[in-house]
């Protein structure tokens, strides 16, 4: 019995990512002074909160063999929309504001979903289109005005620095806790509910899923709805964290979320991956980015060049290890094949 026995592919992926994250921490703590401290945790956790939530939404869609490139625009729009409402109706209940953000996001995700699932247009085309459309909507709606921090209610401004628990200087922010809740919730949904498993099935072999009588279209729509909802939630977090919202809010988030998802080991062709993996992917990328920024030896300009390469290497590492793993399964299978 090898120790690897019983490890499902997702588990292994997650393990590999954890090792990679540890590796990054070790390497950078040897080149950056004062690197491993509470501050690093606070920074990375706070900024990863947004990207992880978004990446999990993206995961839902990617699992079904689709992609959502409009999430950046959804984040921007909901952030602006909710910010605008809050500036006008400052006494709005916080819960209502969150619902509003999630609701608007869901609506936008729903439009994507209907076009993909029921009008049978490839998701990349639909969301490439809605990426532009939602952004246009934002610009038209905003009329070049900016959501200003001053007009936002106090509770919202205090939200990003609100700690749920603190150990010494290590803070667990409320937004971070919100993100953790999302990760755990979606991890459970994907792993332990038939709905989640069917999402995998649809991505793994859509034709077979149809034959098996799954409501493919409804499932894909649901995936997009969830993705939209999480993008809306991210929009709200975006608003809370950055306060000043202009029309460029969230530009580039779509590619970032896709990057987090693929680094997190979610197969871009659907069918495999996990919410936890996507979360780890977001952490890894954010950690790399953060560390590269802080590395004195490296100029501002080298950062992106290195980041691209490191993303590539981490994906490749994952893929190489997974291949070994597959080989291992094959051998094991060969050993236990028809014993007659």
């Amino acid at each position: 019995m090898s120790p690897i026995q019983g490890l499902r592919p997702e588990k292994l992926r997650e393990l590999v990512l954890l090792i990679l994250i540890a590796l990054v921490l070790i390497v950078f703590s040897s080149v950056i002074e004062n690197y491993l401290n509470a501050r690093l945790f606070n920074r990375v956790s706070a900024s990863v909160a947004l990207m992880a939530v978004l990446a999990i939404g993206q995961t839902m869609v990617v699992l079904t063999r689709n992609i959502d490139l409009s999430v950046g625009s959804i984040v921007g729009f909901t952030a602006y929309f909710v910010g605008h409402q809050l500036s006008q109706y400052g006494d709005m209940h916080p819960m209502l504001a969150i619902f509003l953000a999630v609701g608007v996001g869901t609506l936008m995700g729903g439009i994507n979903g209907i076009l993909v699932a029921y009008c049978r247009i490839p998701s990349i085309i639909v969301t490439l289109g809605t990426m532009a459309l939602y952004r246009t909507l934002l610009v038209e709606y905003s009329d070049a005005q900016t959501v200003l921090t001053v007009n936002l209610p106090r509770w919202l401004l205090d939200l990003p620095s609100l700690n749920l628990i603190s150990f010494d200087r290590l803070h667990l922010r409320v937004l971070v806790v919100g993100m953790i809740v999302v990760v755990v919730l979606f991890q459970i949904v994907l792993k332990y509910t038939s709905f989640g498993r069917k999402l995998y099935a649809i991505g793994s072999n859509p034709e077979a899923a149809k034959m098996a009588g799954f409501a493919n279209q409804r499932m894909v729509l649901t995936a997009f709805l969830l993705c939209g909802a999480l993008a809306g939630l991210t929009g709200f977090m975006f608003l809370a964290r950055f306060g000043n919202i202009t029309v460029v809010a969230g530009i580039g988030f779509e590619l970032k979320s896709v990057a987090a998802v693929v680094v997190g080991g979610v197969n871009i062709f659907g069918g495999s991956g996990s919410a936890f993996g996507a979360f780890l992917g977001a952490v890894l990328i954010d950690l790399l980015e953060n560390s590269l920024i802080r590395w004195l030896q490296i100029s501002e300009f080298w950062r992106d060049a290195l980041l691209g390469l490191l993303i590539l290497i981490s994906v490749a590492t994952d893929s190489v290890i997974m291949k070994r793993f597959q080989l291992y399964w094959a051998r094991k299978q060969a050993r236990s094949s028809p014993e007659t």
Partner: protein, 322 residues
């Protein structure tokens, strides 16, 4: 020259991109002047999207030439890359005036309406830094827009120049980073600066997006006591940070006035009432008299200097933010 009203000129006002408050304010100013001068022609406010700013600006300029517009006012985001298009617009007899951000080489540009003197910007920033950090001085860093923003680059260069004076010898500029005029990026960059330079005392952000993001980042992390923010900002966006001492001092000029002045200058040149040569003086409506001069901050090119800077602090920021 005092402008003759009612002459026809179709004009275009082009911001760096659409959706940013300050450019909209400039448009307000230009519209005001447009009405005032009773121009029977049209004033269009046309701009690209932020993602497509450079190519978009060139495209709009070229299309304006094709349409036979009489003049265009550009807040240039494309550096010298817009020069070929500007030159061919000039060849077709169009008036090309820049505002806010010039064409560095001045090729294809007739006149630059400078909001403030770019060298002065450097001094103003250095002064604010000195004011905030005190005579003891210390480390500070710059959080700029994108590495390609010509006016920001010019201001930073001017500031570096100014810092050479003995008065500022205690100030130590440690780094220049870029937030691409996106809130999220600027916010993260500001925090990274604090982590990277433990002794940092000030973040100087010569961009309205950057300064607001930086101030908010410091406030959220409870760092306002340690690291201050300064730079160029809108009073409406900065008022709370100034009052709670996260950003005790910052500066800006009026974008409404900038649009207003640019319109006057362009109208006069496009209608042939002014040539646009050094020494010419014209009256820009409510703002009074201005003179065309050689731009001392660039090798080539002419400018009209608007000025002045308004430096905001606790005493005046609330009034200005209304």
């Amino acid at each position: 020259t005092v402008a003759k009203k009612g002459m026809k000129a179709d004009l275009v006002l082009m911001p760096k991109f659409l959706g940013i408050l300050v450019f909209d304010q400039a448009n307000q100013g230009a519209q005001e002047a447009h009405k005032e001068l009773q121009n029977p022609g049209k004033l269009e406010f046309l701009g690209p999207t932020p993602e497509n700013s450079v190519a978009g600006q060139i495209e709009i300029l070229t299309t304006a030439t094709t349409q036979g517009q009489d003049g265009i006012m550009i807040s240039n985001n494309a550096g010298d890359q817009i020069a070929p298009a500007a030159k061919s617009a000039r060849d077709k007899g169009m008036t090309v005036v820049t505002w806010d951000s010039p064409i560095p080489s001045a090729e294809g540009e007739q006149l630059f309406i400078a909001q403030v003197d770019f060298n002065e910007t450097g001094t103003v920033m250095a002064d604010m830094a000195l004011n905030i950090m005190g005579d003891a001085g210390g480390d500070f860093a710059v959080l700029s827009a994108s590495p390609d923003a010509a006016n920001q680059n010019a201001w930073i260069a001017a500031m570096k120049e100014a810092l050479k004076a003995p008065k500022y010898s205690a100030l130590n500029l440690v780094d220049v980073v870029y937030g691409d005029d996106q809130s999220e990026k600027s916010y993260n960059q500001a925090l990274a600066l604090v982590d990277k330079y433990p002794k940092l005392k000030l973040i100087m952000a010569p961009t309205t997006v950057g300064i607001a993001a930086s101030a908010k980042a410091m406030q959220d992390e409870g760092l306002c006591g340690q690291v201050k923010t300064s730079g160029l900002g809108l009073p409406a966006e900065m008022v709370s940070y100034t009052l709670n001492d996260c950003a005790p001092e910052f500066a800006l000029w009026s974008f409404v006035d900038l649009g207003y002045l640019s319109y006057y200058a362009t109208y006069l040149i496009a209608t042939g009432q002014m040539e646009g040569i050094p020494g010419e003086t014209f009256k820009a409506g409510r703002m009074g008299y201005y003179t065309v001069e050689k731009d001392p901050t660039r090798a080539e090119g002419l400018r009209v200097l608007m000025g002045p800077f308004t430096v905001y602090d606790k005493s005046n920021v609330e009034a200005a933010s209304k």
